[in-house]
């Protein structure tokens, strides 16, 4: 079989991406970029004006001193940085796609590994192109529309913010739109299927971002919550299945899907419990429908309850039926950082580690309850269902903890407690006054103390304090200036190593690519199969899990680790 399709699509995509990079670098599309990023452009104009004024003063001074006029280096604004970043990425990806695109047109494809690998590139390029359009075009466009609609008084709220219409959600929606309306082109199908690998790579790279203490605390928390909710859900489904006389195979496949990690668990458990085709279709349809719905509902509720990254990550990681949407919801909640994703993915990994155990349990249960059931090989189930990519995550965590990617004390928060924060980044008296003014608004004694400490030290001194004040920064009735001060205090305390910063950027892109690719595998036809007893049982268990885990997280999970 030949996987590489002789199509000019990859070359065209490559050239278009290169063109975007070139136009950005030449400044030809600055007007368009200014409209897309009004905030950054405003900053750009301010930086430019300040530089021009400084240049003028320096020139006048030099003239007065009879010296030649100096040329001051113009500082880079956020706008310049964003354009440079877009150009860099466009040249990298566009160049690669163009070269491989030419190769595809000239190369007489022969079956083999090279053919398979080359055959995946057009699909990956399609995903990357969608990701660029969404991140650089639709994301800022929707943000602007949301603000404009609110400012015009058409709505009293920002619809883009409320519905979290950021690049992650829009990317997944774009993927769903492509597969359902436009259909995935034949030349892209092979690469689209490979998007799973991008997500797994994202999880593996995520291993570089945890400190040992963080991983230990999150790991322990996730094991407790997942154990309660996975085992609880499996138990509820087994009970409901029996009461509703759903049959052993249907009950078995449903309990895996609803209990552990959704579609992936259904795929893993179906052959073991000998599920009928219709049972598989109803179950997967139900899980996909719930998953897509949760991805929109969870982040909105999370913001409504002003949850911290730890709380939201724990809730999404426990309460969302389908594991693919856990990452989506975490990034939708917190698209600018990976803090929530870090927490949610630990919960996802714990769920995956539960998968072989649950499959084994169901296999034993099925054999016990069904006369014609085939006995399962325990060792084979445990080995074949073990998620190997988790080993990659652990390996990167170990390498990272050994200081391979960043100084060993990077994770211990040396910038919190040491004297590394520069004087100009410490709080100014005016800012301190503003913070004192909002002291009465703090909701808990912990928040009160965190704010008082910030006021007295003029900087953040611990990770806990940072997390608490991050939650404070999300309070709806807080003054914008105060929010800005808290944000700057956070930035002053966090000095990531360039390697870790690069990892963080790549992780966000990998997840964005992966989620768009997964969106391209969610078809309306599959979702439409939701029905029958699985829909009833799934709705009950899905709601119980979401509401139950929300209550547990709000009542018992502290705002930080």
């Amino acid at each position: 079989m030949i996987y590489t399709h002789k199509s000019p699509a990859l070359l065209i995509m490559g050239l278009l991406i290169l063109l975007w990079g070139g136009l950005n670098q030449l400044g030809v599309i600055d007007d368009l970029q200014a409209r897309l990023q009004p905030g950054a452009y405003k900053d750009h104009i301010a930086v430019k004006e300040k530089w021009e004024a400084e240049q003028r003063v320096a020139s006048e001074q030099a003239k007065a001193d009879n010296q030649p006029a100096p040329t001051l280096k113009r500082p880079h604004s956020k706008f310049d940085q964003e354009k440079a970043f877009q150009s860099k990425l466009s040249f990298l990806f566009g160049g690669l796609f163009t070269v491989i695109g030419v190769f595809i047109l000239l190369w007489p494809a022969k079956p083999g590994n090279l053919d398979y690998l080359v055959g995946t590139v057009p699909g990956l390029a399609l995903i990357a192109s969608i990701a660029f359009v969404v991140r650089w075009g639709l994301d800022p466009l929707f943000a602007n529309w949301g603000k404009a609609v609110k400012e015009a008084g058409i709505l009293s709220w920002d619809f883009a913010k409320i519905f979290n219409l950021n690049y992650v959600v829009l990317g997944i929606l774009a993927g769903i739109f492509v597969v359902n309306v436009l259909k995935v082109p034949v030349w892209a199908a092979n690469g689209v299927r490979l998007s799973r690998l991008l997500l797994k790579s994202g999880v593996i790279l995520l291993g570089t971002l945890y400190s040992a203490a963080e991983l230990a605390q999150l790991g322990a928390l996730s094991v407790v919550l997942i154990a309660i909710f996975v085992l609880g859900s499996v138990g509820v489904v087994l009970f409901m299945g029996r009461r509703m006389q759903a049959g052993n195979s249907m009950t078995g496949v449903l309990s895996a899907g609803m209990g552990v990690c959704g579609v992936s668990a259904t795929v893993a458990a179906s052959p073991v419990v000998q599920a009928k085709a219709s049972e598989i279709a109803y179950t997967i349809g139900t899980i996909l429908a719930w998953g897509v719905m949760c991805m929109f509902v969870f982040p909105t509720i999370g913001h409504l309850f002003e949850m911290t990254p730890v709380q939201f990550g724990a809730w999404a990681g426990t309460g969302i039926l389908n594991s693919a949407q856990v990452a989506g919801a975490a990034l939708a909640f917190d698209p600018e950082g990976v803090e929530t994703l870090k927490v949610a993915e630990i919960f996802n990994i714990t769920r995956v580690l539960f998968l072989p155990i649950i499959v084994l349990w169901l296999a034993t249960w099925y054999v016990k309850n069904e006369e014609n059931a085939t006995k399962v090989d325990i060792g084979h189930v445990l080995i074949s269902k073990f998620p190997v990519f988790v080993l990659g995550f652990i390996l990167l965590f170990i390498l990272s903890s050994l200081g391979l990617f960043a100084p060993a004390d990077h994770y211990q928060g040396k910038y919190f407690s040491g004297d590394k924060v520069k004087e100009e980044k410490l709080l100014k008296p005016k800012q301190v006054k503003l913070l004192e003014g909002v002291s009465s608004k703090m909701r808990t004694p912990d928040e009160q103390k965190a704010l008082q400490d910030l006021i007295s030290n003029r900087k953040l001194t611990s990770r806990d304090q940072d997390n608490l004040l991050k939650a404070v920064g999300k309070m709806a009735d807080l003054d914008k200036a105060v929010k800005g001060i808290l944000e700057n205090a956070h930035k002053a305390a966090w000095h990531d190593s360039p390697v870790i910063r690069a990892y963080r950027d790549w992780i966000a892109w990998l997840f964005a690519f992966g989620l768009i690719g997964l969106g391209m595998q969610i078809t309306g036809q599959a979702i439409k199969q939701a029905g029958g007893k699985p829909l009833v049982i799934g709705s009950v268990v899905g709601t119980l899990k979401a509401v139950g885990s929300l209550l547990v997280v709000l009542l018992f999970i502290s705002k930080s680790v």
Binding site: V263, V267, A268, S270, K276, A277, Q325, L355, Q525, G531
Partner: protein, 167 residues
């Protein structure tokens, strides 16, 4: 013993997926086939949504996905084979010649394609199941079928029984 028919013989196309609606259409097909002295051509369309049944699974290894795909393929082929053999027996018992066709894709497109390639004298189908009855959501686009079919279409109502056939 009545043998299976071959291509070229006058035929009546029966779209049948073992659903109660399709079963209700069987007696109508038999009555028409006897009256017109046609063979029964049984069309089974395996809807393309089965290709999407791994949804957005990303956690499993290639081996687990392959096991699932093989299992699903075997389960579907077993279900189709059971239904096909049962219908074949019933047709043969009616003294009718029978031929089986399997297509994978969108039901309406596959049906129209078969009508074009087989040129049967008529198409017999069952009606859509009433709301609340469990089943796959993969329906024929009736308006498209009515617009594009070039043969008479016989539609058996839901729950229709043989005694109603005008001999």
């Amino acid at each position: 013993m009545v043998e299976s028919s071959g291509p070229g013989a006058a035929s009546l196309l029966l779209a049948h997926h073992g659903t109660p609606g399709a079963c209700a259409a069987e007696p109508l097909a038999w009555a028409m086939a006897r009256a017109w002295q046609c063979d029964i051509v049984h069309l089974w369309v395996l809807p393309s949504f089965w290709r999407d049944m791994m949804g957005d699974d990303w956690l499993n290894s290639a081996a687990t996905r392959a096991t699932f795909a093989t299992y699903l393929e075997q389960t579907l082929s077993r279900e189709i084979e059971q239904q096909q053999q049962a219908l074949q027996q019933r047709c043969l018992a009616q003294g009718l010649r029978y031929r089986f066709l399997l297509q994978i894709g969108e039901p309406t497109a596959c049906l129209l394609h078969t009508l074009h390639s087989e040129t049967p004298r008529a198409l017999v189908i069952g009606s859509r199941r009433p709301k609340g009855v469990a089943g796959y959501r993969s329906h024929l686009e009736m308006s498209q079928l009515l617009r594009q079919a070039r043969v008479p279409i016989l539609l058996a109502p839901w729950g229709w029984v043989e005694s109603s056939v005008v001999q």
